[in-house]
Symmetry: C2
Subunit: 550 residues, 2 copies
């Protein structure tokens, strides 16, 4: 395997561990917990994993003895920088506890457990992936673990490999399923722990226990590098408006963080659009007003950050998409619409959508309407990532500005360029923050297993402090659950963290965006650095810093 000069240099980086995980480790148990919503129903669904205490790891005086154990690990869902370091942290801690312990990686995501595809992760394998991005060590996948058949099939290989625990690294859905698996194995006394780890570049898996999901830091820094570069270009050429769409299936955390890092002229926040009951037309007007203001200063250029999930947060669209999600998963669709291609499928949908939502569907450019029809991801969600929101918005803006020009409200020029950043950051080389954070999460997961915990997620807190002051522990997954509607049914899920409109990061944006809009206040973060001054290399995201500022 040929590796780059940077990868060679980074392979020897030793992630910084919190004090509580470094030497001998004690577990400190807190009070019993409750779920964040629908307590009675969550308790009924998870009788064996509900109400468990928060736990925290602290330095212990006495040396502990650990019996050798075997652990399996699964990477679930979209890639996020740092995933390999979770595995490395887990591996190192298992071997430290007892060199006879073994780690197995299930291949290509949760399906590896169900289909018994795995490989042993030896030091030789592990050492190749220290501090690297991607999930290519064992691959990832989007299979949802949710049926008894899957759980039972998994148990076969668990028995065969004599596993004491399975660690699932994933986002909110994957961790919900980790908890279902933990509950099932507990209910049949299978004697195997299931532990989750909070992963997602989207940043929407966070709450009072989870400060941030891993990968958010590196992905946002990579996107911010690119946005900064584009802003330099915009500010040098002074002739284009750059419409920049940023990955993030639902919440706008990525767009918000990148805005705080780069200070673009406009950053749309989906949650605000929804709260203000804005239509797409309102969004277009808002953009065009800034274009006009800047043009009056002779500035015919700018940058606009657009969260990938925007369209789903426009209330009229949200109603349409909810109906489409139900419609496309209905029995009717399964028979009548099966195998229909683009045009025909759209025609079928137009014939079946309700009178309330038909106008919204018809108001869309045909290309966009077709994209909406193109099908959904394995979790049943409309694939908003297929909608070229950035082009749709810029086309609508161009049209609006032409109208305003005729009315004498706009006298400038308007030319747009489009960008979509997602895959460019999901597998970026992890920042020092993500390297350290993930390594600590993996170490913490090993400690949870060693202490016989199941249905927990590994957590690390106090992450705005230097890494040795971080506090590692575990949180019962049920604590973070409530009931939400999925594919037309109420299901127990981990509550997704959207951008809070009364949260500090959004308030910071609101305070500064009027200035950013008209004046040019671009900041150019540049590429992620690993070897320089601490203030360049070891800073956490601005979201995290603002959320935890004292």
């Amino acid at each position: 395997m040929e590796i780059s000069a940077l990868q060679k240099a980074r392979s020897s980086y030793q992630p910084k561990l919190p004090k509580g995980l470094r030497g001998n480790v004690d577990i400190i148990e807190g009070a019993p917990t409750e779920s964040v919503g629908d307590q009675a129903e969550i308790k009924r669904l998870f009788p064996h994993t509900y109400g468990m205490p928060l736990v925290e790891f602290a330095p212990a005086k006495e040396v502990k003895e650990y019996a050798p154990i075997n652990v399996g690990i699964i990477l679930s869902g979209g890639q996020a920088p740092g995933g390999h370091n979770v595995i490395c942290g887990l591996f190192d801690e298992l071997k430290k506890q007892n060199p006879k312990s073994k780690l197995y990686g299930f291949l290509m995501g949760p399906s590896g457990l169900v289909d018994h595809k795995y490989k042993e992760l030896t030091a030789e394998v592990i050492d190749k992936y220290r501090n690297t991005g991607g999930f290519d060590m064992i691959g990832s996948g989007r299979t949802k673990l949710e049926t008894k058949e899957q759980f039972d099939s998994g148990l076969e290989i668990i028995r065969q490999l004599n596993l004491n625990a399975v660690i699932i690294i994933g986002g909110d859905d994957s961790n919900t399923n980790a908890c279902m698996l933990a509950e099932y194995y507990a209910s049949i006394n299978a004697g195997v722990s299931v532990i989750g780890c909070p992963k997602t570049i989207d940043g929407d898996l966070k709450n009072d226990q989870i400060e941030t999901s891993f990968g958010f830091d590196s992905a946002c820094k990579t996107y911010s590098e690119l946005i900064g570069n584009i802003q330099r270009d915009a500010n040098s050429a002074r002739k284009y408006w750059h419409f920049i769409k940023l990955m993030g299936r639902s919440a706008s955390h990525i767009a918000l963080e990148c805005a705080l890092q780069t200070q673009p002229n406009i950053c749309i926040i989906s949650e605000e659009v929804e709260a203000n009951n804005m239509t797409l037309d309102d969004v277009v007007n808002q953009i065009c007003e800034v274009v006009v203001k800047r043009s009056e200063e002779g500035l015919y250029y700018g940058t606009i950050l657009i969260p990938e999930g925007l369209i789903e947060f426009v209330p009229a669209f949200k109603r349409l998409i909810a109906e489409l999600s139900d419609l496309l998963s209905s029995d009717l669709a399964k028979t009548e619409a099966k195998g229909l291609k683009s045009d025909d499928l759209l025609a079928w949908i137009l014939n079946h959508v309700s009178a309330e939502n038909l106008p919204t569907l018809k108001s869309l450019p045909e290309e966009v309407a077709k994209q909406l029809a193109l099908g959904r991801d394995p979790h049943g969600n409309v694939q908003v990532s297929l909608i070229e929101t950035e082009k749709m918005l810029s086309e609508m803006c161009a049209k609006r500005l032409d109208e305003w020009k005729e009315q004498g409200k706009f006298k400038g020029k308007f030319a747009a360029l489009h960008h979509f950043f997602g895959y460019e950051g999901r597998c970026a080389t992890p920042s020092n923050f993500d390297c350290n954070y993930c390594y600590a999460l993996g170490t913490s997961a090993a400690q949870l297993v060693a202490n016989g915990k199941t249905g927990y997620m590994a957590i690390v807190k106090n992450t705005t402090a230097p890494a040795d002051e971080w506090v590692a522990g575990g949180v019962p997954i049920t604590k973070m659950m409530n009931l939400e509607r999925r594919n037309g049914q109420m299901k127990p899920v981990i509550k997704k963290a959207l951008v809070l409109l009364d949260g500090e990061p959004f308030k910071e944006l609101v305070e500064r965006r009027k200035d950013w809009a008209v004046n040019t206040r671009y900041v150019y973060p540049g590429p992620i650095q690993y070897f320089g001054p601490l203030e360049v290399c070891d800073q956490c995201t601005m979201t995290l810093a603002l959320e935890h500022k004292k």
Copy 2:
């Protein structure tokens, strides 16, 4: 001006200067030169600036006295990382020669000279832009300096500011125009030097005197970071073919360099397509054969690098584009087709294109044909950057693979994602190489002026060695010229450097690409580093290293 932590840390970086430019400087003059082609005609067109010697700067023993001078600087054309450092190097050397010397920046490109838009560049301005990307210090523009009126208008402000020299930082076209300006001012004894600097991320301004154009290094490293990230993603998710188009108006140097850095499954080189007289269908077949081979190994993913200018190098397309360029700049078009929009313009073109080229035009997807008609850049070139070649190719591949599936030649899956990287790298934070190289170019330009040279380009050679062993000097611009057809007329231009099919970089690709195609040999370069080990931070491009390997 709010600046990022990295920018703060980088502002104190002192670029490394070649020995010959550090202390007292001697100029060493070589033998008279000749143009690379059409010597008689180039000599006739440039009587005052033809045949001058190559010059080189070397350490001098005695201290020299320099009278105070005033210099104007112009950034011309597309942005390239390092432009600010040319200005900083020039400024520092001017002030070192005589603190009373002054530097003026003409604003928004060559039009700043013509329209008398400028600002003085004081230490306060300069210090804000050291080691930064972009051209935002004074802006850039694409106005072509080529008429006597422009030259005379420029002379007015040159007289007014009492300028001894004008430095033009640009690509091949801009340096050609710099030479025309030098020639004109020499012919009227204006007493003002004109000096060029080799800039372009495209890498196509190079020859036996110019080892590389600045910006190529940083831009390729930035694109390679992103390609590497996408390859990690492809190798983790294992379900997409990524079609990645890379900026570069004509030559494929960027694609080739990025391929050498990242080892994708496929890299198309336009120059090879042309040399082998390939059709677009041949290119599609070549890609599809790799897709099939990989699918037989169970690998349903991959990466394909596509040079932006590809379509112009497909011989049948080239004929079509040459005709379109002539047709669209014809008098007929100026009357009949003026103001026609997309559909109507295409209809007009279809009615006027020759029988030979009509089939090629008709073979294009309509969207692409329209993009071809959409107009040209100020240099008269069809704007290939508007053609979404990456999507066109992947659509054609999907169609071909469907056919092969029916014929039983393909049994796998094929899903594609698309990327275009250009603006993401043009204004990247410059690498150490570009910081040093540009600073030396600026210093060298100041020395050329101090030595009364005009019609020269500043150069720096031996750039694969450590920076202090680099050799700075100047080359007469006429030496690099020949006659080429532009907008239907033969014009003197600097010979563009295409990828040489017998050059070391391309030979390296050819030697390795069969292995890369089927096996997965991805390399992940990661982000540009500034503070780490030399082998990570200070490496030149692989193109440069291979071209100059001993």
